[in-house]
């Protein structure tokens, strides 16, 4: 039982970060109907940014998100304006291939610049943990979970309470109608991609103290992000939040009972099952 609780808890903690990744992908999909296959690579860039802020300027990874968020937002806005914007009307497969290509460029450019060596960002608290009721909790995971909650709450406030946020959601609901209502959908798309990139970058920053940093790390997270968003329902923000936590738990508990080698198989099986039996996701309503 203790093992089960332990794995549940670490699943929830890591699930918070997964939720951020998923929300980023789902916002982009919602507003533009583009599946961003470079999402994990954007996260990887966030990881490297955090790593260099830490090693060169000695900024704590959890503090550095103050710098990472705006930078990644600008990066995402740039990607949207220069690349994604040109294929919004194209075939979905071409959009997918474009983002795959962008992802390859990012991961390999980073590899070219910083080699493919694994980098480890070790802070004083990287491996520290404490015990509550016989369950050990890793400190960096707990801190990152707390930050995740703050960011998620802020994001919900932004999307549901501010004009810009509502305009983004309106664009996601019906691009044409939103445009007729005088919403600048192009601008909303740029903001949405910026937000998505910022969230992925933040997730990267938050896991960097507990994860290996290497150029190809992105593909793992891209796949996870898909699973999360499909699970929650493509375009649903609440769904992605829930999906992230669920996948975190599934991975962690599955890893304990089936061996860590098989945990990805479990995740993908869940993914296929959801795709087949409820392609609109757990909370999604089918729009197309």
């Amino acid at each position: 039982m203790a093992v089960f609780l332990q794995s549940m808890l670490s699943g929830i903690l890591i699930g918070g970060v997964y939720a951020l990744i998923g929300i980023g992908l789902t916002i982009i999909f919602g507003v533009m109907r583009v599946i961003n296959f470079a999402h994990g690579d954007v996260l990887m860039i966030g990881m490297y940014m955090t790593y260099f802020l830490f090693t060169l300027l000695h900024i704590d990874p959890f503090v550095s998100i103050v710098v990472t968020i705006p930078l990644m937002f600008l990066f995402g806005a740039f990607l949207q304006k220069v690349f994604i914007n040109r294929v919004l009307g194209a075939l979905p497969q071409n959009q997918i291939l474009l983002t795959i290509g962008m992802g390859l460029v990012m991961s390999n450019a980073v590899m070219l610049a910083f080699t493919s060596d694994y980098k480890i960002l070790s802070t004083k608290y990287s491996s520290s943990s404490f015990n509550i009721l016989g369950i050990s909790i890793s400190s960096p995971l707990l801190i990152s979970f707390a930050i995740t909650i703050i960011i998620t709450v802020a994001l919900y406030w932004f999307l549901y309470r501010t004009d810009t946020g509502q305009a983004i959601r309106a664009t996601a609901q019906d691009r044409g109608a939103a445009q007729l209502m005088g919403i600048n959908v192009k601008r909303m798309s740029i903001i949405a991609f910026g937000l998505g990139a910022a969230l992925a970058g933040t997730a990267g920053a938050l896991i960097s103290p507990t994860y290996y940093i290497f150029p190809q790390v992105g593909s793992v997270f891209t796949l996870k992000a898909f699973v999360i968003t499909v699970l929650g329902g493509m375009g649903s923000i609440v769904g992605a939040t829930l999906g992230g936590v669920l996948i975190g738990i599934a991975e962690s508990v599955g890893g304990v009972y089936f061996g860590s080698g098989w945990k990805d198989v479990i995740v993908f099986m869940v993914f296929l099952l959801v795709l087949l039996f409820k392609p609109s996701g757990l909370l999604g309503t089918s729009k197309d």
Partner: protein, 357 residues
Amino acid sequence: MRPFMHNMRGTSTLPVLLAVVAVAALFLLPNFVESTYALHIMILIFISIIMGSGWNILGGYTGQYSVGHAAYFGVGGYTTIILMQYRHIAPWYGVWAGILVAVAIALIIGTICFRLRGPYFVLASIAVAEIFRVTALNLKKLTNGAEGILITDIPPFKIGDVVITDFMSKVPFYYIGLVTLIIAIFATWMLQNSKLGYYFQAIREDQDAAHSLGINLTIYKNVALACSVVFTSLAGSLYGLYVGFIDPSTVLALDLSVQIVMTCIIGGIGTIFGPVIGAVVLVPFSEALRSNMIAQAIIDSGLVSENSGFGFFLKEQLSHAHVLIYGILLVVVILYMPDGILGFVRKLTSKRRKEAI
């Protein structure tokens, strides 16, 4: 609707003649070329064309964008090599076993996944390939896990007591690749002008319209997948045997799936010679990068000194960058020539023709 190429009867004699000359030249090539490196590049191009042509049947003609074809490439390769290495079944039988296993698996997966459309199908195909990769990593008894299987030796191919080849040089692989690729291209050509091919293209253009005209979507998508997998699996077996080594991170990786798709996209999707052009452009380019020829050429040209920091950086790193070039090519092709090189050239020539009129 995309123009459906030329009719069989409309084919003039000149292209046929050119094709015959090209094939004859390729058959004679190993007699004149001594360099094993040149043969190596040719074999890689052949394998790339075979897998591209295979994908093209499903992705190009039927419009089902699988980004998980590495699964079938890997299954074919692993089946052939496991049978040879652990069961001592000669590869010329094992290849067929590989095809059988790959097609059987493909049909199961197809029946499940073809209910999905558009981006959901793409995601499902990726997930399937990832399941195969992780499974191959974990089934250590069968696949030797991440270490992969090293082929110790391929038995010599004999007819009666006459040894046809002992597979010691690259030449037998060259001919096997060449013959298979000709079969693949011929099959695509036959398919394109057949009733089955029209069904496939109808599904690509509009699934629902095709369905309403009485084309059973699940059956014909599965048929397209099976045809496609035959060549993908063959390419996988050939690759494994040629390289002499097989492991999950090369034959079952997402990178390989992307590479298969790219060969077609860059050449021109849904055209007979698209995969050929894609492979001829991509393979030598990435090999030149991988083997540091381009870095050396930049240094030799005197643009960058070998001893300068940048020159050193180029020599050290550019060989790792072949995937970067893949990525850049992919982005450029999608943005500026979404119909691939063939489509781009065709558009240029048709524009010129219009201007002439």
